[in-house]
C-alpha cells in the first residue's frame, strides 16, 4: 500500500532541486495527513495549519530522510510532533491575542497559514465515500476485484495477476479502468 518506488523517484527529483515534484507528494498524502491532524485538533482549519507546517518541515528535513523507512511513516512522525507542539503552544499562550498572529507570521513569512475555508468549498467525507463505494459496486466484477486487491489489500500487480490468473498487462488496465470509472462519478462532486 505504501508505494516506495514512486515516492523514492519523487524524492530524488526534489533532492535534485525540482521543488514541483514535492507538490505531487503533497497532493498524494494531504488527505491522510489532515485526517491524522484531526485526531489531535477538532477544527478543520487547525488541522490544515498542522498539515501545512508538517509538509514544510518535512521538506526542510528531506535531506535527512534516508529512505530506510517509508516516506509516509516519516511524514507521519513529523505530523504527530507538529500536532503535539501545536497543542502545547495553544495551551501555553493566551488565545485571541495579537501575539499568536504576529509570531506565526514571523515564522512563516508572508504565507498566510490559515486561509479562510468557506463551507461551500468543503465536501463531506460520507458523501464522497458513498459515491466511491457506489461506483465500485457498479463496476464489472473483474474491475472491482482488481481495484480492491490493489487499494485495500495492497497487493502488487504481479500478486493480483496470480490471484486473478491473468497477465500483468490486464491487471494494469483493469485497475486503470476501475479508477477511471470511479473518477467519473467523483469529479462532478468535486466540481460542485
Amino acid at each position: 500500500m505504501i508505494n516506495n518506488v514512486t515516492d523514492k523517484q519523487l524524492i530524488e527529483r526534489v533532492k535534485k532541486g525540482e521543488k514541483a515534484a514535492y507538490d505531487l507528494l503533497v497532493l498524494k498524502y494531504q488527505q491522510r495527513i489532515i485526517n491524522l491532524a484531526l485526531r489531535y485538533v477538532r477544527n478543520h482549519s487547525d488541522a490544515l495549519d498542522i498539515t501545512q507546517e508538517a509538509f514544510i518541515k518535512a521538506y526542510r528535513a528531506l535531506p535527512n530522510f534516508r529512505g530506510d523507512s517509508a516516506f509516509y511513516t516519516w511524514l507521519y512522525r513529523i505530523t504527530v510532533n507538529t500536532a503535539k507542539n501545536h497543542l502545547e503552544v495553544q495551551s501555553r499562550r493566551p488565545r485571541t491575542s495579537d501575539y499568536d498572529v504576529s509570531e506565526i507570521e514571523q515564522i512563516e513569512g508572508n504565507v498566510a497559514l490559515s486561509e479562510q475555508v468557506t463551507p461551500e468549498n468543503l465536501l463531506f467525507k460520507d458523501e464522497l465515500q458513498a459515491t466511491v463505494l457506489m461506483a465500485i459496486d457498479n463496476l464489472p466484477p473483474d474491475l472491482k476485484t482488481a481495484i480492491m486487491l490493489r487499494e485495500v489489500e495492497g497487493l502488487s500487480y504481479e500478486e493480483i495477476a496470480n490471484v486473478m490468473e491473468c497477465p500483468i498487462g490486464t491487471v494494469r488496465s483493469r485497475i486503470f479502468r476501475a479508477r477511471e470509472a470511479i473518477d467519473n462519478e467523483v469529479r462532478p462532486l468535486l466540481q460542485n
Partner: protein, 327 residues
C-alpha cells in the same frame, strides 16, 4: 467482494496500520528533535538554573529567556563567584561587572557572512556526524530524550544532548572526545517554561549609580586582506570550509589580527594570524581549555594560532597548513 467484507477488511487493515505507526510515533527522529530544540530555545519563555562543569571547575548560572514579538531577550546571571550579569536584547548587550563597578555596552549585531545561502544546517552536518537516539533520562525533574552526535572521523568531537520531551528544550549537553570522555558539561538543575516573563526579571540587579558605563565602538570590521597578503589553511578535515574572514582589533595587538573561520557546520575552528611587533615570545604552542584546543606556530614575522572545539591533532594540522598568498 462486497461491502461487508471490504469493510471488515478496512477495519482490520486500519487497525493494524495504526499499531505500526503508534510505534513509530514513540521514537522521534533525532535530527527532527534537534531542529525542534533550536526552535524551542528561541521561541519559548523559560527561567532556569544550570551547572557548568569544566574539568574540576563547577559554576552555577541562571538563565532567563523571553520570547516575544519584539524578538527575544535574555539574561544570564552568575550565581557562583563574582555576581556578573549579561543582558541581551535586540538592540544591545550589557555586561555588568560588579567587582569593577563597570558596565560594558555593545550593539547587538549579526555578523555578515560570506553567503546568505545557508543550507539546512542539520543536513549539512549529517554527512560527518551520526545522529542517534540512545535513550531516555530525567533531568531537572523533566523527562528527556538522549541524542548522541558521533563524528565519523577522529578530527572532531561528539556531543550528547538531553532534550526535554515536552518542550524540546536542551536540558543537558556534554562535549565528548573520541574515547567518549566528557570534556565539558552543562546541565540544568531547574528549568521552568513560563507563559510570560516579567520584564523586571530582565533588569540588572547588580548595577548601581556608581557604575561606570563603557560603550564599545570597536564594532566595524577592517577590510580583510588590505595588506596585500592573504592567509589560508591548506589542510582541514573533510567537510570543513571557510565561512568568514575578517580583521579583529585586539587589545594585545598593535595591528588588527587576521581572523579566518572554518566550520563543518557543527565544530568551528578559528585561525588568527598576527604580525609580531616584538621578538616572538615563543611560549606554549598548544593548550587545552575544556573542549577547546589551541595550537600556535611561529614564522619569522607572524604568529599563527588555531583555536577550536576539535581535537588537538586538528588544530595542530590546520595551524601547520596555513600559507600566505600575495594578491
Amino acid at each position: 467482494m462486497n461491502y461487508q467484507s471490504s469493510f471488515i477488511l478496512l477495519v482490520f487493515l486500519f487497525g493494524s496500520v495504526s499499531a505500526v505507526y503508534a510505534e513509530a510515533e514513540a521514537y522521534p527522529d533525532p535530527q527532527v528533535l534537534i531542529d525542534e530544540m533550536s526552535k524551542a530555545s528561541r521561541d519559548l519563555n523559560y527561567d532556569g538554573v544550570f551547572v557548568y562543569t569544566l574539568g574540576k571547575q563547577m559554576d552555577t548560572m541562571r538563565i532567563i529567556h523571553k520570547a516575544d514579538v519584539y524578538g527575544s531577550s535574555e539574561r544570564l546571571i552568575a550565581l557562583t563567584g563574582y555576581a556578573r550579569e549579561v543582558i541581551r536584547d535586540k538592540d544591545q548587550v550589557r555586561c555588568f561587572f560588579p567587582e569593577k563597578k563597570a558596565v560594558v555596552v555593545e550593539k547587538s549585531r549579526l555578523r555578515k557572512l560570506i553567503s546568505n545561502h545557508l543550507p539546512n544546517p542539520i543536513s549539512a552536518i549529517s554527512e560527518f556526524y551520526i545522529f542517534e537516539l540512545v535513550g531516555e533520562d530525567r533531568i531537572a525533574g523533566l523527562d528527556a530524550w538522549i541524542v548522541n552526535i558521533r563524528p565519523i572521523d577522529k578530527y572532531r568531537y561528539g556531543y550528547q544532548l538531553w532534550i526535554d520531551k515536552k518542550f524540546k528544550l536542551l536540558l543537558k549537553s556534554e562535549l565528548k572526545n573520541q574515547l567518549g570522555v566528557t570534556l565539558e558539561q552543562m546541565m540544568f538543575a531547574q528549568l521552568n517554561v513560563l507563559d510570560k516573563i516579567d520584564d523586571a526579571l530582565l533588569r540588572p540587579t547588580t548595577a548601581s549609580k556608581d557604575f561606570i558605563w563603557y560603550h564599545n565602538q570597536t564594532d566595524d570590521h577592517f577590510d580583510a586582506g588590505e595588506s596585500g597578503i592573504q592567509w589560508k589553511a591548506t589542510w582541514m578535515p573533510a567537510g570543513f570550509m571557510m565561512s568568514e574572514r575578517s580583521k579583529e582589533p585586539m587589545t594585545t595587538s598593535r595591528m588588527p589580527v587576521e581572523h579566518l573561520i572554518y566550520t563543518d557546520g557543527l565544530a568551528m575552528v578559528s585561525i588568527y594570524v598576527e604580525k609580531l611587533t616584538e621578538r616572538a615570545d615563543v611560549f606554549a604552542k598548544s593548550a587545552s581549555f575544556g573542549g577547546v584546543n589551541t595550537h600556535a606556530v611561529y614564522t619569522q614575522e607572524y604568529q599563527i594560532t588555531a583555536i577550536g572545539e576539535v581535537p588537538k591533532a586538528t588544530v595542530k594540522l590546520m595551524a601547520d597548513s596555513v600559507k600566505s598568498y600575495h594578491r
